[in-house]
């Protein structure tokens, strides 16, 4: 009896195997290969999940993909137009091929004919990317939300979990989940609305903070951790959303007022400097330098808004900070002058090794996600040279970046592809400062990005998983009163 069952199972498996189409009488393709995601000729970390892709070429009903390295190879044959690699075999291959170049050859059956496309390559580098990424999933509904979640994804596989769900938090808006020093055990985000606050996960404790004092124009908005985790630097903004009349430009968000503050999480004090609380100047997007001795931020003079929004340009500035005494410096340096550069800087982020500052530049304004021209730029803090990252940027907005802890990788949100929905892209930066073509976060099914109607928002890398989940947030939202700050 057992033998019969075994034979039957083997028979079924053989049939299934035999049914998988394999290339025969292969011809060279005359058209070019169109794949999604656009994974051709990219540099990848050895710990990334399989780069599954699908063919956009019409009428493909079977594919064969050969991934050939120096020491090993991987072949998949499949019905349909999707190339989906087995997770285990993929990681075995990448582990063996660290530092090597993989050659990928795609053969597709179109109208019964097997066509081979020119090969492309994946370079596997020996420097890993941080294994976790958090992001907010939200409809690109500009100013209104209904269902939104902050999620965390392991980028070595496809495991994803919900960190915060607004359905479990009285429908509150949730935003700006950022890690400190790419650490999973140090992170924060804002829960907006009545009874909300900034949720801080630090030293194994989850706290709810009211980052608003009578001297501040609003609660804390954009923020970042000091490398020692004790401080957080924030902007406080009066944010105004407005719509463009020109159809493709959609939304503009600008600040009527904005200042900077530093929150001391140990003493629940707000540190305010008159230099960054000037009502005649808009200050926003603050971040600490890698050594914690500087605050980088964006600054623009107040102008008449919204009429002159096209002249609203933010410079990149810095001001010293003494973490020992919790004191702001007394001088503002301008590193990137908006007037001279004819652009507007947003979201500066210092690389953990202290070498670079990564930021985005738009023609104007302080909300680059709907600015098609918004691109990332890299400032070498040692030489002062600016790298315009041509290999990384696209003709759609490329913004909201964060660094991997080894400073060799960065992640950002880009609207390339469909121009509507933000997706997460990774790019490699070698030791000489050369950046390489970016690639999108791999999905278990490459069609997932096509089917989803949510944007990936504010991606942030971390080397470990965060210690809380949506239920912890539900509890703290309901039962904990926000700690006051002085």
């Amino acid at each position: 009896m057992k033998r019969t069952v075994l034979i039957m199972i083997l028979g079924i498996l053989c049939c299934l195997q035999a049914c998988t189409p394999r290339p025969e009488s292969v011809k060279l393709a005359k058209s070019s290969l169109e794949i999604y995601p656009e994974y051709q000729n990219v540099v990848i970390p050895y710990n990334i999940a399989p780069l599954n892709f699908l063919l956009r070429n019409e009428r493909v009903d079977a594919v064969s993909v050969m991934v050939k390295g120096k020491l090993d190879s991987l072949l998949i044959n499949a019905r349909g137009n999707k190339a989906i690699f087995p997770l285990k075999d993929w990681h075995v291959l990448l582990e063996k091929e660290k530092g090597h170049v993989l050659q990928i050859t795609v053969t597709a059956r179109i109208d019964g004919e097997w066509l081979r496309y020119p090969s492309f390559m994946w370079k596997v580098v020996n420097e890993p990317i941080d294994s976790y990424i958090s992001y907010r999933l939200i409809e690109p509904g500009y100013e209104v939300w209904n269902m939104l979640q902050i999620r965390e994804r392991c980028i070595e596989n496809y495991d994803e979990r919900v960190l915060a769900d607004n359905e479990l938090a009285d429908g509150k808006c949730m935003n700006c989940h950022v890690h400190g020093g790419s650490r999973g055990d140090l992170s924060m985000f804002h829960l907006r609305g009545e009874g909300g606050g900034t949720i801080l996960s630090r030293n194994g404790k989850l706290r709810k903070l009211s980052l608003k004092t009578s001297k501040m124009i609003s609660a804390a908005v954009y923020g970042d951790f000091h490398p020692n985790g004790r401080y957080g630097v924030f902007s406080t903004n009066i944010i105004i959303p407005a719509f463009h009349t020109k159809s493709n430009k959609r939304l503009e968000v600008y600040d009527n007022l904005s200042d900077l503050v530093i929150a001391d999480f140990d003493t629940n004090r707000m540190l305010i400097s008159p230099l960054t609380a000037d009502p005649a100047v808009l200050e926003t997007f603050p971040t600490f330098s890698a050594d914690g001795k500087w605050v980088y931020y964006c600054s623009a003079p107040q102008i008449s808004l919204p009429d002159s929004v096209e002249h609203l340009r933010y410079s990149l500035c810095r001001i010293a900070f003494d973490p020992q005494n919790g004191k702001w410096g007394d001088r503002v340096d301008t590193l990137w002058n908006a007037r001279l550069m004819r652009g507007s800087v947003c979201h500066p982020k210092a690389s953990p090794d202290g070498r670079y500052l990564l930021y985005s530049v738009a023609d104007y304004g302080t909300f680059p996600i709907w600015h098609r021209e918004a691109d990332l730029q890299l400032l070498d803090l040692h030489t002062g040279l600016i790298n315009k990252l041509k290999a990384v940027n696209s003709n759609r907005s490329d913004t909201y970046h964060s660094w991997s802890s080894n400073s060799r990788w960065f992640v950002f949100a880009s609207k390339r592809g469909d121009g509507q929905y933000g997706r997460i892209y990774f790019a490699y930066l070698d030791r000489s400062g050369k950046a390489y073509k970016a690639f999108v976060l791999p999905q278990s099914d490459p069609e997932k990005d096509d089917l989803t109607l949510k944007s990936y928002n504010i991606p942030d890398l971390s080397s470990s998983s965060v210690p809380f989940d949506a239920n912890s947030i539900k509890r703290i939202n309901k039962s904990v009163k926000a700690e006051e700050f002085k």
Binding site: E139, P241, F243, K246, R396, D445, D450
Partner: protein, 461 residues
């Protein structure tokens, strides 16, 4: 047959609306998502069959079959205990479930779940009856499998529902306008003059599409400017929120149309829907944003009912009719750029007119917006700036006379505005009656004039 005719004759738009607010895709990824949750088979089959509600008569037929099956299951379950009385309970069960299916957010999978659970119980009963020893463990297995396949029913919309004929009327208007069957809309509007902003909204939009907005504005209930542009507020239903895009789309303001469509989609029960996806594809095609349009076209290409629609719209493969339609719509787009808040409607309309002074719909909407808000000064300014006709229509003449009377203008000045003499005479008569406090006669003679609206319509906050 009764159920079929009930849905076919009484609630056809209800079924159509349910189809419009869901998106069923033929994709392994999409189907696998169903299998991850309890009630997989019920939800999958429910949504699969719901997509056919798109076709006239198919929805009622599916409803009839599914509800009949539910009745049969109930009958077979109860027959061993109640014998012929099982019929009565089965009919009551079908009536109850038919009522539940009248809920707009109650899915077809709700009834399929009940059939599945009923079937599983019947199977367990059968197994146990044949052999206790084998039947008991088998029953546990069947129930576990049944939980995965059918779940525990949909109770989110309450225990019972009733047909909502007022809502059906609103959905009928909404659907007929969507299909551009204007004769049917006229018939519906003539049949039932329901006082609701959505009804007025479609009444005004229909008239505007036929270049009759100003002529017919005062013939209908007008809840100030809410009958021109629907208010999107936390209290609004998603039907209203979604419908808000139609006027912006017709006027040529694609930013606002897209915004309203996405809001409608966000607040709809499934946060998606073929109608919203189609509209977003259209908006982006008009904007010339092919990448964004393809996002939505790719989704629709994976449906059964909209593949054909997509094939004529894929950039590079568009039919002549689609190309001509796109060209017409693109003429209305704003050529220059300014910023405005979502509620600054006059600024949006004025900007459309600055871009294209021939956009007569934008002109009428702007002037009527001013009038319905009783903003005579804004009306006079907008009329002078944007009106291109020598002789004002009746409505605008009436409003201009109020403006001139407010200014204390002379008869000579009134004649410079080319106001027809008969309107001028009637205004004198109206003023006489108004001053003599003859309300009954005033209402009888001038109820449908702007003068009457101006004096007697109360503005709700």
């Amino acid at each position: 047959m009764t159920i079929f005719f009930f849905f076919f004759k009484i609630l056809p738009y209800h079924l159509f609306h349910r189809e419009q607010s869901q998106l069923f895709l033929f994709s392994s990824n999409f189907v696998l998502e169903y299998l991850k949750h309890p009630g997989a088979l019920a939800n999958l089959s429910g949504d699969f069959f719901t997509q056919f509600f798109y076709y006239q008569g198919v929805g009622p037929a599916i409803m009839a079959i599914v509800l009949l099956l539910w009745g049969v299951v109930v009958f077979y379950l109860l027959f061993p205990y109640m014998r012929c009385w099982a019929w009565l309970i089965a009919i009551l069960a079908v009536l109850w479930e038919t009522g539940r299916e009248c809920g707009l957010n109650y899915p077809l999978s709700g009834t399929i779940t009940l059939i599945g659970i009923g079937g599983a119980i019947w199977l367990c009963h059968y197994c146990i009856k044949r052999s206790w020893k084998l039947g008991l463990p088998l029953s546990f297995f069947i129930l576990a499998l049944s939980y995965w396949a059918f779940g525990y029913g949909n109770w989110t919309t309450g225990l019972y529902n009733f047909p909502n004929l007022k809502r059906e009327y609103l959905l009928a208007l909404d659907s007929e306008m969507y299909f551009g069957r204007w004769q049917n809309v006229r018939k519906l509007l003539a049949k039932d003059k329901l006082h609701a902003p959505l009804v007025t909204y479609y009444y005004n939009l229909l008239n505007a599409e036929q270049n009759q907005l100003s002529d017919k504005l005062m013939n209908f209930y007008q809840p100030a400017s809410q009958g021109l542009f629907l208010t999107v507020a936390p209290t609004s239903t998603y039907v209203t929120i979604f419908a808000a895009n139609e006027v912006w789309f017709a006027l040529g303001d694609m930013t606002m149309a897209e915004h309203a469509t996405i809001l409608g989609m966000i607040f709809s029960p499934h946060h998606t829907g073929v109608r919203a996806i189609k509209r977003l594809a259209e908006i982006n095609l008009i904007n010339g944003d092919e990448a964004a349009a393809m996002k939505y076209l790719r989704l629709l290409r994976k449906t059964l009912c909209y593949r054909g629609w997509v094939e004529h719209r894929i950039p590079g493969r568009q039919s002549l009719r689609v190309i001509q339609w796109l060209e017409q719509k693109r003429e209305l787009l704003s050529k220059s750029d300014i910023l405005r808040t979502a509620n600054n409607i006059p600024l949006s309309l004025r900007h459309l007119l600055h871009s294209n002074s021939a956009n007569s719909m934008a002109r009428d909407y702007l002037l009527c917006f001013d009038l319905l808000n009783k903003d005579i000064a804004a009306f006079a300014m907008d009329y002078q700036q944007f009106s291109n006709s020598q002789i004002p229509c009746r409505l605008y003449s009436e409003a201009l006379l109020i403006y001139l009377a407010g200014k204390g203008a002379s008869i000579d000045e009134a004649s410079r505005w080319n106001i027809p003499s008969n309107v001028l005479d009637e205004f004198k008569e109206y003023t006489r009656l108004y001053e003599s406090n003859n309300g009954v006669l005033l209402q009888a003679k001038y109820k449908k004039t702007y003068w009457f609206y101006f004096h007697y319509a109360s503005m709700k906050k």
